[in-house]
């Protein structure tokens, strides 16, 4: 699929530079700006607006939109189109994200760049369609089977949804891996000011293509970056793609421990060894704080309000917001645990990221859950009340 990135056309399709829009819409704008040219999806609340808007805008920007029969097929379609050379995306919510897991693993194993936006809703199962949640944080990490690394990002605003969607495309192209954007019903349906970034204010990364001739190309041979170059289907390069354990030529090798170890370790290492450059956090520390709030995504909004209110009362409090969720920002959490005695973790689930946080803190600080489920955000007061109770 040959797609020409036509910036003028994309900006015309997006419309005004400053808009009052939902997070679901800004995700679409981010995808278009990043050069997404293929979208396959199955609408689901609270992600339906992404599919609806994509169906309107993507064809006008020169891309292809397909509504699939389900989420399994959606994931399959974006993997196939990616191999045909397109930057691809699908969007969904919890129930659909569950269905996508098998093919997400296939994308990891076959090193297929693609972006999955999960607008999380209250689960399990079909749960509460119109209520937001942070219930898929662990599913994004371990929903698909087998050893693997994954990249997942979580925005806390409409603007950041746009910015991180662009980043998700860039990371997926750079590392040849599926990237998950973990937003939720709160941010997805929230309307806020969103400013379209100008050219030069954001980067566009494209996957590496083959640098050698057709006769010398080895599809899964990586250089020191650990990321192989990717030939496009139809360009005449010999490419063999399989979810089975494979050797560098792409052919299956299903009973060699050595081949499996070499492949899977490289898939893990290409992300693990770049943890530093993939990690994004927002730090707001005060000298002498003994307590901290550590949050991400939608629950970072009431958390920031709680921090502001506490500081107005002249209480010292540190605030750490995770933007990159996977690979997990271990070092940043450890650094915070070294600074304070207690870290409060408000999550819209009954305890998910609190576990890697506790693991990263290595007992250097007490980690206290502030869970909430069933829809509405925590209130700032609820978080402050939890902090007053000495755990």
């Amino acid at each position: 699929m040959r797609h020409k990135y036509d910036e003028k056309k994309i900006r015309r399709v997006i419309g005004e530079k400053v808009q009052f829009v939902q997070g679901d819409a800004s995700a679409v704008y981010g995808a278009l700006l990043a050069g997404c040219s293929f979208f396959a999806g199955y609408p689901i609340t609270p992600a339906s607006e992404t599919a609806e808007l994509m169906s309107k805008l993507l064809p006008k920007a020169g891309g292809v939109y397909i509504q699939m029969e389900d989420e399994i097929a959606s994931m399959g379609a974006i993997i196939g189109a990616s191999w045909a050379g397109a930057k691809t995306m699908t969007t969904t919510s919890g129930p659909g994200f569950s269905l996508m897991q098998e093919n997400i693993g296939y994308a990891c194993m076959t090193e297929t760049p693609c972006v999955v936006i999960d607008v999380q809703r209250s689960g399990p199962s079909t749960g509460q369609p119109t209520e937001g949640s942070q219930g898929d944080m662990m599913q994004a990490r371990w929903g698909t089977h087998g050893d693997h690394e994954i990249i997942a990002l979580s925005p806390n605003s409409v603007q950041e949804t746009l910015d991180l969607t662009i980043e998700a495309f860039n990371l997926s192209e750079k590392y040849r891996t599926p990237v998950i954007l973990l937003t939720d019903g709160e941010i997805g349906h929230l309307r806020e000011k969103c400013v379209m970034p100008e050219k030069g204010e954001f980067e566009i990364i494209d996957r590496k293509g083959p640098t050698v001739g057709r006769d010398k190309y080895v599809p899964f041979q990586a250089d020191e970056s650990l990321v192989p170059s990717m030939a496009r289907f139809g360009d005449g390069y010999h490419v063999y793609v399989t979810g089975l354990t494979h050797v560098e030529k792409g052919y299956p090798s299903t009973s060699s421990a050595e081949d499996h170890d070499r492949l899977v370790r490289r898939l893990v290492d290409k992300i693990e060894k770049n943890r530093k450059s993939i990690t994004m956090v927002e730090k707001d520390y005060q000298k002498g704080s003994k307590i901290a709030i550590l949050a991400y995504g939608a629950s970072a909004r009431p958390s920031a309000a709680a921090v502001r209110k506490l500081r107005r009362k002249r209480k010292k409090v540190d605030f750490l917001r995770l933007i990159t969720i996977w690979p997990f920002p271990n070092e940043e959490v450890r650094e915070l645990a070294d600074r304070v005695d207690r870290i409060y973790v408000p999550e819209m689930n009954l305890g998910q990221l609190v576990h890697p946080i506790r693991e990263a803190a290595e007992g250097r600080a007490k980690i206290i859950q502030v869970p909430r489920i069933g829809g509405p955000l925590h209130t700032p007061k609820e978080i402050m009340d939890a902090m007053r109770k000495k755990a």
Binding site: F20, P129, T130, E186, R191, E192, K193, R308, L377
Partner: protein
């Protein structure tokens, strides 16, 4: 302008979400920050609908209403269910045609019958926006008129402008 919290509630189909959206967009045109959120059931019509708008000249961290400065009820159910979480001096504005409220502190305006007289019940939400603008000045008249124009179909602009002006007058503007 300090943080102002506005809650608009009614039932699905009254344009509750749209009126919140228009209000937020007008605030942006005024140069302020705004967030708008909503909650509704899975039904397209009927069911309870709620739209919340926060307007501030500062960054808005918590995007939901904790204590409304303005509460607008466009249905009895919304009024009965949501009159908590108010500030002591909150402005409570109801659709007199649809809501029974005894307290004198509550301002009642006939949004629906005013809209009906104009020929289209569905512009009751814009009558409400007119009254709200006149009573609070929370957004400028220029900005909200611009926001209404960009969000209604072309052929419906005229009736919406009329609805706004009627509401504006009923709100004392």
């Amino acid at each position: 302008m300090m943080r102002k919290e506005i809650r608009i509630a009614g039932f699905g189909g009254q344009g509750i979400v749209l009126s919140g959206f228009i209000l937020g967009q007008a605030a942006l045109l005024d140069g302020n920050n705004a967030v708008q959120s909503q909650s509704y059931g899975p039904e397209a019509r009927g069911g309870a609908a709620k739209s919340e708008v926060i307007i501030s000249d500062e960054k808005i961290d918590y995007p939901r209403v904790t204590e409304a400065d303005v509460f607008i009820a466009m249905s009895q159910e919304a009024y009965d269910k949501l009159q908590g979480d108010l500030k002591e001096r909150s402005l409570i504005l109801i659709d007199k045609d649809l809501v029974d409220a005894s307290s004198k502190a509550i301002k009642g305006i006939p949004f629906t019958s005013t809209a009906d007289k104009l020929g289209k019940k569905i512009v009751a939400n814009v009558v409400m926006l007119g009254a709200l603008t006149a009573m609070t000045g929370i957004v400028s008249k220029d900005s909200i008129l611009k926001a209404i124009k960009t969000n209604v179909p072309k052929k419906a602009i005229e009736i919406n402008m009329k609805a706004f002006e009627k509401g504006y007058k009923l709100g004392g503007g």
